[in-house]
């Protein structure tokens, strides 16, 4: 287990009802965990708690625990106790995130990947190396190696998304969060991202939100089904899809709602 959510509640500002209610959920090392459930059930809210990006906006409130394994000591540390800006910055370098719409920075392809490395104070030669490695790792190198200096916004949507993945993995995160990373992409780019996720699993644990059940069953090892802010069922993907225990899971997978 690399991360664990325990008795977790989340409140958006000026709301009395929690958006997430008593979530308990483990994330396993070098596995892909899919979060599925109908729109508005809280998948993004949960995912965005795992790197505490909610902290960007005032008034959001967490309750409970989110534990992250310290790779040196092996201890599980509660990330919700971290208060300092540096602690959050470190957390986000350890827990990367890919968004629904590709988010290339307004700079060159090279700089997009190098940016995070430069902030870490890495040397030029090391950065060059890591940029190439990350672009190869995200299966983009062959397409962009001759135009690294060009503006990243000129890439196609699928390429942009792979660039964002390269940017994230260049920092060698322990966990990669993906919020419907293929829902804005065409089928071919979607397959490319899915294959990439499976390949990346060797190095990084992945949590992926998807409303596409085929996608969840194709790529994930574990699946969590959420409904109305609660975790209904969690288990190995084959079990959830072939042999769900909860009636709501059965109905959802049968396409009765959502």
């Amino acid at each position: 287990m690399i991360m664990e959510v325990k008795d977790f509640y989340f409140y958006y500002p000026n709301t009395t009802q929690p958006a997430l209610k008593g979530i308990n959920l483990p994330f396993y090392e070098n596995k892909i965990t899919a979060l599925i459930g109908p729109s508005g059930c809280g998948k993004s809210t949960l995912l965005r708690s795992l790197n505490r990006i909610h902290d960007l906006y005032p008034g959001n409130r967490y309750e409970g625990e989110i534990l992250l394994k310290n790779l040196e000591t092996g201890e599980m540390e509660n990330i919700l106790e971290w208060k300092k800006e540096e602690e959050l910055i470190q957390l986000r370098q350890r827990v990367g995130m890919i968004f629904q719409k590709p988010t290339p920075f307004p700079m060159s392809i090279y700089d997009n990947v190098a940016y995070g490395l430069r902030l870490q104070g890495k040397k030029k030669s090391e950065i060059d190396e890591k940029v190439e490695e990350a672009l190869k790792g995200s299966a983009l190198w062959d397409e962009v190696k001759d135009r690294l200096k060009q503006d990243a916004r000129g890439l196609s949507g699928g390429q942009q998304q792979r660039l964002c993945i390269a940017r994230a993995i260049a920092l060698e995160p322990e966990i990669l969060l993906m919020d419907e990373p293929t829902s804005a992409l065409d089928p071919i780019s979607t397959i490319a991202i899915e294959e990439l996720a499976i390949k990346l699993r060797e190095k990084v644990s992945i949590v992926i939100v998807t409303h596409n059940m085929q996608q969840a069953s194709r790529i994930s090892d574990y699946t969590a089904f959420m409904y109305l802010g609660e975790l209904v069922e969690f288990g190995e993907t084959s079990q959830i899809f072939l042999n769900p225990k909860e009636q709501r899971t059965i109905d959802y997978i049968a396409g009765k709602f959502g």
Binding site: N51, I53, L56, Y57, P58, E85, I89, Q90, L91, R92, Q93, G96, M97, F99, Q100, K101, T103, F105, P106, M107, Y115, G116, L119, C164, R167, A168, L171
Partner: protein, 271 residues
């Protein structure tokens, strides 16, 4: 009923077309008069000598120094204020007040700003000076820059900010390295248009920087500017001096036009 509406529609269309044409007639009248009188008064001597010798040189340079330094002051302050509004205020009460204030300042008559600066920077010193003119122009420019920065930053999708933060980038670096860069063209255009706006102003300079026939770089004393000179020369009995005013007005319009065109080109290029 339908017929009546149709009829009304025609009348409104007719009236609005008529007023548009009327407006255009005056605009072209002004432009044509200005061009004819301006071009016929133009000569090389105007650009090589100062007002004392019936030239425009010190006036043009003075105008650009005033507007240029005002921009150097107004842009950083305005951009930072815009950043505060969009990135740090979370739309608090204070932000609301600043936005409204800045809108009011934008529509304040420029003569009012001139008189205000006169009372705080000219009266205590005892005489007109370049700095007072600069402050007046900077004050005029400020709300425009604040507003443009605020608006342009608001067009940057929040996902881009989140993507920066999610990479472990400190917030201020996200703003300066990513968000500002994404809004660069819009902000630059706004600054250019704001510059074009202040470079042709007379009222804020009239009581502040005053008037000077000689070439000078000393901002502690009366400072030359094209607009104030045009204002003074235009009513002179000496037709020679009036001709200088025409030439100056023509040059000014051309300069402002060019800056505006660059601004528009940038906007179009972006789309």
């Amino acid at each position: 009923m339908l017929k009546r509406r149709f009829f009304l529609n025609k009348i409104v269309l007719f009236l609005s077309t008529l007023s548009a044409i009327l407006g255009l007639i005056f605009l072209f009248w002004i432009l044509i008069t200005l061009t004819i009188k301006g071009i016929t008064s133009l000569n090389l001597h105007l650009f090589t000598s100062d007002l004392v010798d019936n030239g425009l040189r010190n006036l043009l340079i003075g105008q650009f120094i005033l507007a240029g330094i005002a921009t150097l002051i107004g842009v950083p302050v305005g951009v930072l204020a815009g950043i505060y509004l969009q990135e740090y205020s979370y739309n608090s009460r204070l932000a609301e007040i600043i936005r409204n204030l800045s809108d009011i300042m934008m529509s304040a008559p420029s003569i009012v700003i001139g008189v205000f600066v006169y009372s705080i920077l000219v009266i205590p010193v005892g005489h007109s000076n370049g700095w007072a003119g600069i402050v007046a122009l900077a004050v005029m420019m400020l709300p425009i820059v604040v507003r443009t920065t605020d608006d342009m930053l608001s067009l940057v999708p929040k996902e881009l900010r989140e993507a920066g933060v999610a990479l472990g980038v400190p917030k201020y670096r996200v703003i300066f390295d990513i968000v500002i860069r994404a809004a660069k063209v819009g902000i630059t255009t706004g600054i250019l248009l704001a510059f074009a706006r202040i470079v042709g102003e007379t009222a804020p300079l009239l009581f502040t920087s005053g008037n000077n026939e000689f070439f000078t770089l000393d901002l502690n004393h009366q400072f030359p500017s094209l607009t104030v000179a045009i204002y003074n020369l235009a009513t002179m009995p000496n037709p020679q001096l009036v001709k200088i005013a025409w030439a100056g007005a023509f040059v000014l319009v051309v300069v402002v036009l060019i800056i505006n065109l660059i601004g528009r080109y940038l906007v179009k290029d972006k789309k």
